[in-house]
C-alpha cells in the first residue's frame, strides 16, 4: 500500500469515526431512558424528528434561534409529561417488552403528529457551521463533523457530570439501581420519569439539529433510530460510554467496509453492515461491550 492509499484509508476512517459520533448522539437518548426505567424507547427516533421539525418550523415563522430553542425545549418537556401520564403510568410494572411495544405505538403517533402539525415537506436547516473540509497533514476533515463531535462530547461531559454531582442525577442512579428501593426511600418515581424523558427529549433535539443540518429536516430523520440500534446493542443498552465507543467503532468499520468491501457486493451495504458487526460481537459478549450482565428476572 503506498502513501496515498494509506492516507485515503485514514481519511475514510476519520470520516467514519465522526459519523459514528452522530450515531452515538442518538444512542445516548436511548441509554438515558433505558438506564433509569428499563424501557427500550423505540420512539427516540420519532422524538428526534419531532424536536427538529418543531425547531425548524418555529425559526421559519420568524423566531430567533434562542426563542425557538426555548419553545422547542418547552414542547419536549410537555411531551415528557404527557408520555409519563398517558403511557408509562398506566403501564407501570408491566414487562419491558410490553413497554417497548408501547413506545413503538408512540413512535407512530409522534411521527404522524409532527408531520400533521408542521407539514411533510423537507426543511433546510442552517446552523451557521461551515461545511468546508480543511486539511491536516494531507487528510481532509469536514469542519461540520468536527463541530458536531465537539458538541456531542460536551453533551456527554454534561450528562456525566449531571449523573455524578447533582441530586437529580443521584436520584436517576438510584432508580436505575432498584426502583422499589428508590420508592421506599421516598423518591418520586413519576417526577424522575418525567425528568428522564425530558432529558432524552433534549438529547433528541441536539441530535435532530445536527442530523437535520446534514440531511434536511424531514421524515427520514426518524429513521436514524435504525442507525442507533446496532450501536446500542454493541455498546450495551445501559452504558453512555458504551454508546460512544460502539458509535465510533460502528461508524469507522461501516465507512471502511463501504469503501473497501462494498464494490465487491454491489454497494449499499450500510443498511445492514452495522447489524452484522454488532451480531458478531454479541456472539462473544451477549450483553454488549459495556452492558450490565443480564440478570434473568421472571
Amino acid at each position: 500500500m503506498d502513501w496515498f492509499t494509506f492516507l485515503f484509508a485514514v481519511e475514510v476512517a476519520i470520516g467514519g469515526l465522526l459519523s459514528g459520533v452522530m450515531y452515538a448522539l442518538v444512542a445516548i437518548g436511548f441509554v438515558l431512558i433505558y438506564k433509569t426505567s428499563g424501557v427500550l424507547n423505540f420512539a427516540q427516533g420519532a422524538m428526534v424528528l419531532f424536536a427538529a421539525l418543531t425547531f425548524v418550523s418555529l425559526t421559519e415563522m420568524g423566531l430567533p434561534f434562542a426563542g425557538a430553542l426555548v419553545l422547542t425545549l418547552l414542547a419536549m418537556t410537555l411531551l415528557g409529561i404527557t408520555v409519563e401520564r398517558a403511557v408509562l403510568r398506566p403501564l407501570a410494572n408491566r414487562s419491558p417488552m410490553t413497554l417497548f411495544m408501547a413506545t413503538l405505538g408512540l413512535s407512530y403517533i409522534l411521527e404522524g403528529l409532527a408531520q400533521l402539525l408542521w407539514g411533510t415537506q423537507v426543511h433546510r436547516l442552517d446552523l451557521g457551521i461551515s461545511n468546508d473540509p480543511f486539511e491536516v497533514a494531507g487528510i481532509f476533515i469536514s469542519t461540520f463533523d468536527l463541530v458536531a463531535a465537539a458538541i456531542a462530547g460536551a453533551m456527554v461531559a454534561v450528562l456525566t457530570a449531571f449523573f455524578r454531582f447533582t441530586r437529580t442525577g443521584l436520584a436517576f442512579r438510584a432508580v436505575a439501581d432498584d426502583q422499589f428501593a428508590a420508592l421506599a426511600v421516598g423518591l418520586r418515581l413519576d417526577r424522575i420519569w418525567i425528568a428522564v424523558w425530558t432529558a432524552a427529549g433534549v438529547v433528541a433535539l441536539v441530535a435532530g439539529l445536527l442530523w437535520g443540518a446534514r440531511l434536511g429536516v424531514q421524515f427520514s430523520l426518524s429513521l436514524v433510530v435504525l442507525k442507533a440500534l446496532p450501536v446500542l446493542v454493541l455498546g450495551g443498552f445501559d452504558s453512555v460510554l458504551g454508546a460512544i465507543v460502539a458509535g465510533l467503532l460502528i461508524g469507522a468499520t461501516e465507512k471502511l467496509a463501504e469503501v473497501y468491501l462494498g464494490p465487491f457486493v454491489g454497494g449499499g451495504i450500510e443498511g445492514w453492515f452495522a447489524y452484522a458487526v454488532a451480531l458478531v460481537v454479541l456472539l462473544v459478549r451477549p450483553s454488549g461491550l459495556f452492558g450490565q450482565k443480564l440478570v434473568e428476572r421472571f
Partner: protein, 349 residues
Amino acid sequence: MSLVTEFSATPLPPRENRLLAALPLVVILAVAYLAVPLLANEYLIEAILLPFLALSLAGLGLNLLTGYAGQVSLGSAAFMAVGAFAAFNFDLRLGLPLPASMLLAAVAAAAIGLVFGLPSLRLRGFYLAVSTLAAQFFVQWALNKFGWFSNGSASGIIAAPAIGIAGLPLSGPVGRYLFALVTVTAITFLLHRIVNGPQGVNLIAVRDNETAARVIGVPVLRTKLFAFALSSAIIGIAGVIWAFAYLRTVEPAGFNLDRSFQILFIVIIGGLATIRGAFLGAGLIVVFPLVLSRLTGLFFDGVADPGTIELLERIALGTVIILFLIAEPSGLSAILSRLKRRLAAPRAG
C-alpha cells in the same frame, strides 16, 4: 422477560359440549367456503379478504415465535419477501407446479429463518429483538441488489404468474381467494395440532422459564430453532399468498420495516399465544384504515388530502396499540372469550 405471564391449561369439556363448541368454527368455514365465493363482490375479495388471509397467516407465523416461544422478532416482512421471491424463482426457473414451488419457498424461508434464529441461542430480550432487524435489512438489500432474484427487472419488481393447480385456472378473484383460503385453513389446522401437542408445551416452557425448561428436559436450543424455522416457513407462505394471490406485482420495498411492525401489531392486538388472535388482529388491521378513510372522508370532505389521511391513520394506529397494551393486553381474543362467557352465562344459571 416473558410477554404472557399466565397460561391456563383448560381441561377438555365433555364430548357433547365439544361438538357444540365446534359449531362457530363450522359456521365460519361454511361462510368462507360457500357463501363468500357465491355472494361476495370483487371489491370485498380483492381489498379485504385477500390481504386479510395473507396477513392472518403471517400473524399466525409470528405468533408461534413471539406468542408461544417468547422470542420477539422485528423482521417478519423479510421472510414474507423470501417466500414470495423464492416461489417466483422456483416457478420461473424450474417450472414447478404451484403447490410444489410454494412448499419449496416455505423451505427456503425456513432455512433463512434458521440462520437468523441462530443469535437467539445466545441473545435474549431486546438484544435479540434488535438483532432480528438484521434479517429485515439484509434480505431487502439482497433482493434489491442482485437482479437474479427478480429475473433482472428494474428495482426488483416481480410480476407473479397467473396461478392455477393441475390445469385448473385460479387467476380470477374467486379462484385466488379459494387458493388462499385452502392454504390458510390447512396451515391453521396444522399449527393448531402443533401448539396443542408436546412441541407446543415445549415452546411455552421455553418462553416462561428457560432455565426451568432445561431442568425438566426440554431441548431448549432445538425448540427455539424449531420455532424460528416453522414461524419463518409460515410467514414465507404468507408472502407467497401476498405476492401470487393478493397483489400479483410486488417489489422488495413492499416488505419493509412497516410491514414487519404491522404483523407485530396484528399479534399484539389479536392476542399473544392464540390461534384466533392472528385472524382477529389481521381483520382489524385490514379493515381499520378503510373505515378510517371513509370516516375522514365523511367528516372532512375535500379538506383532508390522502397524505393527511395517512398521517391520521398512523396516529390512530399508534393510539390503538397503546390502548390495547394498557386496557386489554391479551388482545381481541380475550374480549371474544369474555363475550362468549357472558352470552353463555344466562343458560348456565
